[in-house]
């Protein structure tokens, strides 16, 4: 691998990692702040992608579709929290797992009823439909760079929201002590509802900006979900910083796992087993730091 290709691969890894971060950040917020494990998180990613598809057809414009999609996602989040999730705070995680597993089935079938099982494409907006030539054969699509930029902006925004604002302070306090926040006269139920809606919106938004490059297809949420779990486990529950670092780490490991050849004792390990790489990484992190890179020790 020459230096040029290597650098491009690093760019690929970071770019993939940033998108993963966007999906995983919602998951880690819901987990860390509300203590809710949400298996349907990947499903919201899928919902976002389908929203981008159907709304952009309706409006004829991806930007409008994204704005509308975020609003719808927030509404979905608020309704779900009010209707179902709010009943789970005092229940074992087990029930959260099951309820959200049920939600996966429901959303997948609803998707099938409403949109069918076709693969759909979403057009990249006109102004971003250009590529920057990097080598004589390879160019880099500007849309991907734009995606990365959006992810970075959101990451910084989230960091400020949580570390520097009053809302963030309350959120952080809520994560530590539900009763304490309640006693301060803050409506914790409303707070949790908003956090859940924010998480759903983040996942859906990730689905929307990924739709033009990923296309829209059944089952697209589930593969994202498990990778996001790995991101959260490596980064540490509730840590946005950890999620960022872990996502980029996974992006790089995944990228290089696919293109590097590794042979030990005559057995081809890579790229044969590249699918396992991120789990091996996770096992390693667990051995060294069971609570994740930036997790709080229980």
């Amino acid at each position: 691998m020459d230096a040029n290709t290597f650098l491009i691969q690093v760019l690929n890894g970071i770019q993939y990692g940033l998108l993963l971060f966007l999906v995983a950040s919602g998951l880690t917020l819901i987990l860390g702040i509300m203590g809710i494990i949400n298996l349907a998180h990947g499903t919201f990613y899928m919902v976002g992608a389908y929203l981008a598809f159907s709304l952009s057809q309706h409006f004829g414009n991806l930007w409008l579709a994204m704005a509308g999609g975020v609003v719808i996602a927030v509404v979905i989040g608020l309704v779900l929290e009010w209707l179902l999730i709010s009943r789970l705070y005092h229940r074992d995680h087990l029930y959260q797992v099951l309820l959200t597993y049920g939600l996966i089935l429901i959303f997948e079938e609803l998707r099938s009823v409403v949109f069918g099982d076709d693969v759909h494409g979403v057009a990249v907006p006109e102004i971003l439909r250009v590529s920057i030539p990097l080598t004589e054969t390879l160019s880099y699509p500007v849309y991907r760079l734009w995606m990365s930029a959006v992810c970075l902006v959101l990451a910084v925004g989230m960091y400020f929201l949580i570390q520097k604002t009053r809302l963030g302070m309350i959120i952080r306090a809520g994560a530590a002590n539900r009763e304490m926040v309640q006693s301060l006269g803050i409506n914790i139920n409303l707070l949790y509802r908003l956090v859940f809606a924010l998480g759903v919106a983040l996942a859906a938004f990730a689905g929307m900006i990924a739709a033009p490059v990923a296309s829209v297809f059944p089952g697209m949420g589930n593969q994202v979900l498990i990778v996001c779990f790995v991101v959260v486990v490596i980064g540490g529950i509730g840590s946005v910083k950890g999620a960022m670092l872990a996502a980029i780490l996974i992006g790089l490991v995944d990228t290089f796992g696919k293109v590097i050849s590794l042979e030990i004792g005559g057995v081809q390990l890579l790229p044969q087993l590249s699918g396992m790489m991120i789990y091996v990484l996770m096992a390693g992190v667990l051995l060294a730091r069971p609570e994740g890179l930036f997790g709080k020790r229980a």
Partner: protein, 397 residues
Amino acid sequence: MSKNQAFHRRGFLKTAIAAAAVAGVVSLPSFAYAQSKIKVGLMLPYTGTYAQLGVAITNGFKMAMSESGGKFGGHELEYFTVDDESSPPKATDNANALVTRDKVDVLVGTVHSGVVMGMVKVARDSGTPLIIPNAGAGAATGSQCAPNIFRTSFTNWQPAYPMGKVLADRGIKKAVTLTWKYGAGIEAIEGFKEGFKKAGGTVVKELFLPFPSVEFQPLLTEIASIKPDAVFVFFAGGGGVKLMKDWQAAGLKGKIGLYGSGFLTDGVLDATGSAADGIETTLHYGDGIETPKNKTFRLNYAKTYKLQPDVYAVQGYDAGLLLVAGLKAVKGDMSKKKEFLSAMEKAKIDSPRGAWTMSKAHNPVQDIYLRKVVNGENKVTGVAQKALADPARGCKM
């Protein structure tokens, strides 16, 4: 109208007491049926990723049956459908339910290769005739071939192999392959490699992606740095769409030729848009086959189902034609199994894709077309290889 039933009263009543005691289930729907009907078990995906394919196959199959009159020597047809969910762990169980509970005379299915292997297992154990209308797992008509197992579609090897020769004949020497790391992909790549090497080409690198990941970017970067003359891929559905779009966005389109098994561009051209333009693939069917048979088929299908037929509908239709050939030979009397099987073996299927016959291993000997995406259609530009039979390695029959 299919009767989709979970339980029959006959068997169910006997176990109802135990079942109710153990699990609290009281009653489930039941249907009475006449003894003389020919029972056809359709085991196809009706939910999940492949639901669309399951529906197309069912449509095609039923169309063939109704065109034939639907009655054989006084025996009517009765359908039993099971949603296989494309879930391999449930495969043998579902197939077994059709065979032992519903006592079907013939099994038809399915799309997913893993699931079809489960069906093959049941067919081999029970001796029930099995017609495979899609899944291309080589083993079904290879190492696992059996007198009662037939396929009306393809092997994964089959559409890929001729592309090797087509490319080499154009003077392409250096190719890279890319697929998901799963059975179908690996078999297709093997087919291409075999054809390409035989015609003098070299595969310089085989790239894989863990299924069902669609993160192509690192692999495209790798391809760009290798600069091969051509890239041969095996993808279908959403993965294929994403590949073609990424390919275009990465600026590889027009610089390095992208070729594939026909599934790459089938049923997804609306989603792909301009990214698919000009991509050439090989398959046993294409949109513009100018034969009267194909024209009638497309017209009738569109009329009946208000849908354009695709390759899956054709395969389902051919599965129907094959069954009709067998049933006609025995006049609907399924007790004459030997005659039934041998009639199917010898059948010449007048398919919309062109006439084809069964190979020794019970896989179609068929023409493979070279197609090119033009204006959102898979236009047939020629025949890549005439009357191609799968080598059926490992078949001892």
